[in-house]
């Protein structure tokens, strides 16, 4: 009985250990993406329209990476959280964009 329990726990824990590599990769990628964004802004040869577009894309990529890996969104059992997040994004983004256009024009 006791032996059975410990072995089943070891099976449960195995994927948790593998996850650590992903966390370090997320950290390294976040630093690279941040450095790219700062570099794009400091490089005056690039057009400002392109830089705006580029750094916003980089920010979204970094945010999605951190949400998936550091906030465990890619793990099983996160259906509610995923649905909440996607619905919130779908509702909030159009409201924000509409409000901005309404104020500017």
């Amino acid at each position: 009985m006791v032996h059975n329990e410990t072995s089943s726990q070891k099976i449960k824990r195995a994927p948790v250990h593998e996850g650590m590599k992903n966390h370090y990769i997320t950290f390294a990628l976040s630093i690279i993406l941040t450095a790219l964004a700062f570099f794009a802004v400091m490089n005056s040869d690039l057009g400002s329209g392109f830089v705006y577009f580029f750094i916003v894309i980089l920010a979204f990529v970094q945010a999605i990476l951190q949400i998936l890996f550091w906030m465990h969104m890619k793990d099983r059992g996160h259906l509610y959280a995923q649905v909440t997040f996607v619905v919130a994004a779908l509702v909030l983004l159009p409201i924000m964009v509409t409000a901005l256009f309404w104020i500017w024009w």
Binding site: Q9, V16, H17, T34, I55, Q66, G77
Partner: protein, 204 residues
């Protein structure tokens, strides 16, 4: 080693072992959804008002990218520390959980110190809360984020103290997990702040 065998009766994932723990995590995601709405409106008002500097210093004149880069690196590293704490919680290693949470608190404090230094510098440049719409929306957005960091620092520091008394259980496990979620969220918001406020301010 003896401490490890002492806690071996615990389930592997403490945060999901009880219904209360699972509900806490679901409830916390709903809270983070509400936080998204809060920061969404603050970002929208900043984007709409950032050009109205009323003759005061502009974003391009004010911001110093080297301080922002350092603050970004500090917060990103502290976010990694909190994920390390959750990892050690899964391995039932109380000492290392407290170590990484304490490291998270220390880096959070360093971030706050940089932000206070930055704000004091801006006030000396004539960029105060009431000097223009740009300044008001800037301090609202960045200040709200800073106050979230301050709250997180106090929360996680108390958690480190409580873990010293109560150890790792199915009650304290979800607390660690949820505090780490909060800290990651603060870092994700900062990603958009350094992009939208500081980098876009430098582009012009």
């Amino acid at each position: 080693m003896s401490a490890h065998s002492h806690t071996d009766h615990l389930p592997a994932e403490l945060e999901k072992a009880t219904l209360e723990g699972r509900n806490k995590i679901l409830g916390f995601w709903l809270f983070l959804g509400a936080e998204c709405a809060l920061f969404g409106t603050l970002f929208a008002s900043y984007l709409a008002l950032r050009g109205n500097n009323m003759g005061g210093p502009t974003a391009n004149e004010l911001f110093d990218l080297s301080i922002v880069a350092l603050a970004t690196f500090i917060l990103l590293t502290s976010s990694l520390f909190s994920v390390l704490a959750v990892h050690e919680m899964h391995r039932h290693n109380l000492g290392k959980v407290r170590f990484w949470l304490a490291a998270t608190v220390l880096f959070g404090l360093a971030f706050l110190a940089l932000e206070i230094y930055e704000f004091v510098h801006y006030v000396h440049e004539g960029h105060t809360f009431s000097s223009s719409a740009f300044a008001s929306s800037f301090y609202s957005l960045v200040g709200f984020h800073g106050s979230h960091v301050l709250f997180g620092v106090c929360w996680i520091a108390l958690l480190v103290a409580q873990l010293g008394r109560k150890g790792l259980t199915v009650v304290t496990g979800p607390k660690i997990y949820v505090a780490a979620l909060y800290w990651h969220f603060i870092d994700v918001v900062w990603v958009f702040i350094f992009t939208v406020v500081y980098l876009m301010g430098k582009v012009g």
